[in-house]
Amino acid sequence: MARVGVFVCHCGINIAATVDVQKVIDAVLKLPEVKHGVEYRFMCSSPGQALIKKAIKDHQLDRIVVAACSPRMHLPTFQNALLAEGLNPYLVTMANIREQCSWVTKDRDRATAKAIDLVTRQIKRVIHHDPLDDIMVPIIKTALVIGGGIAGIQAALDIADGEQKVILLERSPSIGGRMAQLDETFPTLDCSQCILTPKMVEAAQHPNIEIRVNTEVKQVDGYVGNFKVAVERRAIYVDPSKCIGCGICQAKCPSKTAPDEFSGRISTRAAIYMPFPQAVPAIPVIDAEHCLKFTRGKCGVCEKVCPADAIDFADTPQQEILDVGAIVVATGYQEMDPAIYTEYGGMKYPDVITGLQFERLISSTGPSGGKIQRLSDGKVPQRIVFVQCVGSRDESKGHTYCSGICCMYTAKHAMIYKHHVPEGKAYVCYIDVRAPGKSYEEFIRRAIEADDVRYMRGRVAAIKKNDDHYRVFTEDTLVGRPVTIDADMIVLASAVEPNENAKTLARILGISFDADGFYSEAHPKLKPVETATVGIFLSGACQGPKDIPTSVQQGSAAASKVLSLFAKKVLYKSPQIAEIDEVSCSGCLLCLNTCHYGAIEQVTTQGKTKARAISGKCQGCGACVSVCKGKAIAFPGFNDDQLYEEITACT
């Protein structure tokens, strides 16, 4: 017969004030299996654990029940106490007499009765527990970082500095991301390229980092420590091993009408192009949609002028499978297209532009060489109205959330405009100014006080075009009157939103996203960079709107998570996962459709369809067990004996 020890915790007065703990001990000691019972003020404390260890020795106990708080809180604590005494850690259970009993009532008698009931059930259950061994899983010590923006670069650099291999994947022809598009950064107004380029070069030259541009993730299999990621590099028609990045092809290309994605489509680029001069790697790609060789079948100028013979019109997409142990998702965000804001002209007016387009306009590497001018006639605008919250905090047309960065970048835009055109007038129409970061509020004050930017509180109702200028209808809610501003140029602070294909990637990776489409972290406070899928981490604006400092912080945080994972020699997984008995499995595959983690696969054994659990992926939720009609799925720690004993022990 099993020898069970019962330990009842007072939890200070949390439990003891409502539950008569001595009565609980007295009641359970009447059970024949219970050989020892004791109560203590704090079971989780060192003396409390010592009490358990001593009792195991003195009374030759082989099963332990701790009546205290939730097992989520302290089960590992007591499992370690058992381990120290040479007992299998799966032979202890906890009865939750705090959250489920003492905290929810003031009736001492009934609470005590319920506590006795809860403890008795765990005693009956633990008798049927078997010793279980943790499952050992090897780790492939290479990390995959998806997205080459600042968050991805930072994560890759930190992992690489920790002497682990990193593959940095980027969809576009160069790493750098959104930050590469920016002119100056708030709140210090330092040049974005100047602080980003060294990091890009460092990533490119780091012996532990392998950069793969023009590449996207197609499929992900496997589990923490052992992911198999299928990637595809699209056809770029340039041989990266031969190209010397001289740029002659780009200069000589006769097709220069393709809209430039890098400048927010306010200018054009050649069909063979590098997105920006500091691109890493400095290798151009051919955009087949606009290349005359592909559209009309003749041209090939780039092929003739290339001194390195690097043009290869026969290039095809390349597939590959990468073996990695951890994945950092850093896919960033996109700027919302304000075309649905027809009251602001629906982006049909040439001088109504978005924040990112204005950023390119003021950038020295931008289409106008850093000169602020109207896209319609090239004149220097004398009055600019900056409209905030376009698509943010707007349930009717945009998103309900606050994009977080627009208040700051709008103040920066207005400031830079005033520095370029000191006699010009800058108006900012805002709902609230949200500047909670370090030195952020001071930055806003500087824009208002030092640079004479006019802030006006109110949502813009409409923008109308009248000849060559624009009339902005808004209100000043602080004085309570409607306001009309005549402007030469309007900049819409367009919302930050998840990338167009963010949901597709989430499904490939098996991670969850919230109602807005941003990737969900495992816990909003305590697990900010982990996802619900172990081994996949988040970094940057794919998880929610973020500025550069926060993205960098998160990149480093994700890297530290990867490094602590890789610091282990092997991984131990809980043995409490599903096991499917192939003989009793009827092959109905109900479990396969139920599993949220994709941990069940379809196999064919002797011509019959069967389900098989993938031990590495299973998270032990038990959903499959509940749907299996043939009882073919076993779940150690939660088998029928244990559960029925627990239920029938109810009085």
């Binding site: 027809t342 002209g345 629906g346 049909k348 409409a462």
Partner: protein, 315 residues
């Protein structure tokens, strides 16, 4: 930006019920004749009924009657049209909003429909909610390609300003087939007939009759508002304004006359309804278009058309 998914839902049939608007039939009878003639050219018969009454919208918009008392009147009109097994075509933004909004209100709430039908049973009628209500603008937009083929008078070089009226695009937003802030469907129809668009700043501004309630507030709010719109219109030097609502037509037309009489300004842009425009393009007899009933004369307009050979001297 036209809303394609809603345009696809618009049904075109061989005959429709022409819901006669009060202002249209009493002040500007040309609307009815040109609508019937123009749609005849597009292979569609417009049926009218002497049993039809006012939509009841005016009484509600001016806070004279509660919606609960005008709803049975709406249901009665719709019941008459249902008995004819026809979908409704309205010429007026007010009729359109009122009929669609109340029909949706009753269709979506069976208890309301039941109560209304109890009242209707006293005159032996029942509203079932089986047929749809469309604005003439929607039907004409849907028939755009047919119109392109059948245009008789290509209106090349004639500049038209547009005015949608608040109660179509902003009225019952669930059914309007275009965006409330940047509509283009009316412009597309005009360009289909060869006309040019005269853009003006106050295009989306209310004519002044509806929200400012000219009848209740006298003219204190309405007149300065309309003046602002007309001034903007004067700047664009359009040959005519095309509207889709008889109320806007009446207000823009007669207010110009009133302001001229009071020597507050000099306004002379003729205003026409879309069905009159359509009739003009499809070659209907100009007399049938009823331009003579308008306060602002069409003489310079027709003169220009004759000079350019769009209208014959005998027209």
């Amino acid at each position: 930006m036209p809303r394609k998914e809603l345009i696809d839902k618009v049904k075109i049939s061989d005959s429709m019920f022409l819901f006669q608007p009060c202002v249209g039939s009493s002040k500007y009878p040309g609307l009815i004749t040109s609508a019937i003639d123009a749609f005849k050219h597009l292979d569609m018969d417009l049926i009218t009924s002497d049993d039809q009454t006012c939509c009841g919208g005016f009484l509600t918009f001016t806070n004279v009657a509660q919606p609960t008392s005008t709803m049975p009147a709406v249901a009665r009109n719709l019941a008459i049209i249902e008995d004819l097994d026809l979908d409704t075509l309205t010429l007026c933004n007010g009729c359109h909003t009122f009929l669609t909004e109340f029909s949706h209100f009753m269709k979506d709430r069976p208890p309301v429909q039941k109560v209304v039908n109890v009242i209707l049973s006293m005159i032996g009628r029942e509203y079932k909610g089986t047929h749809e209500v469309y604005h003439s603008l929607e039907i004409i937009y849907k028939l755009k390609e047919k119109i392109r083929e059948r245009v008789v008078r290509q209106l090349k070089g004639i500049r038209f300003a547009t005015h949608y009226g608040c109660h179509y695009l902003n009225g019952f937003k669930n059914t309007a087939i275009d965006d409330a802030h940047m509509p283009t469907i009316l412009e597309e129809i005009i360009e289909t007939c060869g006309g040019e668009i005269a853009d003006y700043e106050e295009n989306r501004t209310c004519c002044g009759t509806g929200l400012t309630q000219v009848i209740l507030n006298k003219e204190q709010l309405s007149l300065p508002h309309t003046k602002m719109k007309l001034d903007s219109l004067n700047n664009t030097r359009a040959d005519a304004v095309v509207v889709v609502c008889p109320y806007c037509l009446s207000h823009l037309d007669r207010m110009q006359h009133k302001l001229n009489r009071r020597s507050i300004g000099h306004y002379k842009t003729p205003v026409m309804h879309l069905v009159q425009f359509l009739g003009l393009a499809l070659g209907i007899d100009v007399n049938r278009l009823g331009f003579d009933a308008h306060a602002i004369t069409f003489t310079p307009f027709t003169k220009k058309l004759k000079e350019r050979g769009i209208l014959k001297e005998t027209d």
